[in-house]
């Protein structure tokens, strides 16, 4: 059974259809990449799946249950976590406290949450920054903190919204490693990302959106050779370079 099934999702803002008839499925343990040009509706899709805005039409089925329109905190309790494209750290708390707070909802008390937080920090490579204020971190570390906080809620499905935007090439490599590592633990992932190298390195399958509509889907190798995808998003240069 698929962990996430999105059926004919539509979101209209007034006359504009930001997302128009998007459907896809994420199998258990799968990494699916959602790609497409800016304004294609990728983040809007995420917002509807994670409960930040209700869809105008369509259904979101998570773990076999229809969860359309449910609130983010309810979905998080059932094992759906997300990271934000524009990072949202708890700026005046330390890195450790950020992760500890994320552990709280699934812990009985602070002591238990602290214990869990140490584990998450080590796993995400943030242990050395534990006492730094989150507001003073570099963008690379902030993106990592987003992932750490999402992981701290013990998700079965993780939605990552551009976890590598603004990272340096070595940071991208480390982020790819981290995603593989998370996935090895059985967490299914949907990732929005513009860095194609990273997408090709992690994705098991790809859905391409343009103007709110899906224009291609399938295995990464096939999708990047698709003419429509090359014209709409990747460009001739990318195709020639492969």
């Amino acid at each position: 059974m698929a962990i996430l099934k999105v059926e004919n999702l539509v979101k209209r803002f007034g006359g504009l259809a930001a997302v128009n008839g998007v459907s896809f499925e994420v199998g258990r343990g799968e990494i699916l990449a959602l790609i497409g040009p800016n304004g294609a509706g990728k983040t809007t899709c995420f917002n509807m799946i994670a409960g930040y805005m209700p869809p105008t039409e369509g259904k979101v089925i998570f773990d076999g249950k229809d969860v359309t329109g449910q609130k983010p905190y309810t979905l998080n309790k059932h094992g759906l976590a997300r990271t934000f494209q524009v990072v949202k750290p708890l700026a005046r708390l330390s890195v450790f406290d950020n992760v500890m707070v994320a552990c709280l909802s699934k812990s009985r008390n602070i002591t238990e949450a602290r214990g869990k937080a140490i584990g998450v920090l080590e796993r995400t490579g943030l242990a050395s920054l534990r006492d730094t204020l989150a507001g003073s971190l570099s963008i690379g570390h902030l993106k990592r903190l987003e992932v750490a906080r999402a992981l701290a809620t013990r998700p079965a499905l993780l939605l990552m919204d551009e976890p590598m935007g603004g990272l340096t090439p070595p940071e991208v490599d480390r982020a790819i490693e981290l995603i593989h590592d998370i996935n090895r633990d059985g967490v299914s992932i949907v990732i929005i990302e513009h860095i194609m190298k990273a997408v090709m390195a992690v994705a098991h399958s790809i859905v391409v959106l343009q103007n709110g509509e899906p224009i291609a889907r399938g295995k990464p190798e096939a999708v990047v050779r698709d003419d429509r995808v090359i014209r709409a998003y990747l460009g001739e240069g990318y195709a020639a370079g492969r």
């Binding site: 609130k71 934000f84 708390l93 909802s105 008390n109």
Partner: protein, 320 residues
Amino acid sequence: MKTTFISTTVTAALLAIFVPMVANLHTYSIVITVLIWIMFGLSWNLLGGYTGQVSFGHAMFLGVGAYASMLIVNAVNLDMALTLLIGGLLAGLVSLAVGFLIFRLKGPYFALGTLAFAEIIHIVARNMKGVTNGGEGIMLMNRPTFLGIQVFNKTEYFYLALLLATLTILFCACLIRSKTGYSFIAVREDQDSAEAMGMNSTVVKSRALFVSAFLAGVAGGFYGLYNKFIDPEMTLTVHMSVEMIFVTVIGGIGTIAGPVIGSAVLISLQEYLKSLDFLQAFPSLYLIVYGLLIMLVIVYLPGGLVEGLRKIRARVKKES
């Protein structure tokens, strides 16, 4: 946590020993007023400082507590421990209704909403003569007791105020380091993030408002009984709400020490300014000086006096 606990209890014990040695009636009234404002400040701070929901109407909870306690003591002379508790719970109850209506508003709209609510209650209190005796106010008619001990003169009120303020400080310090306290802070820092971490922000905010209103209600009850008289002007006006914000912001918003230091400094300053001869020619002139000083702190020390103390400590450390 330990240091807060130790420093609070030690300070309270020292005050309990030394204040009665030196105090006359005037100093007692200043110290008691400071202690009362510590409680009000801490109450406001839970919602405004820790949860990030700036209320301009906290006087309504103060007022509900004050009227409830006064009416209960006058009617049945129930022990103050229970009276204040009931006053606090009633204020909490009002907060649930207010929160239900108002938490769909954010930021400045929320602040305006609280202001409007407090004003409604102010007007109701002025006109519902059957309960509140309107603008004429209510006198304390009985000699109240606390846990069986009579509390009537300034010394007795001083000890009780000290006890209540100490308990409020310790309670807030514990709360803020609990799961609930961290959820307040998470909502303040970023509501979307808090929800992504499994917190229902409306529930978290309502909880913060309830606790905050409860504390304001208890302190308001004490404030009324201590003054032995209440009317709508001294309990329910915007002035009271704003003063709660002042003592917190000047002291240091979002800290436990903030409202404590803020109240101590501001209330003493007010009393001092009021006593100056050249300001007494015009009874409200001291407010202008007071306002100027507040502006200076806000401009040069946005983190309040607590931040100032921290800066001084850091500089001393560097030099040594």
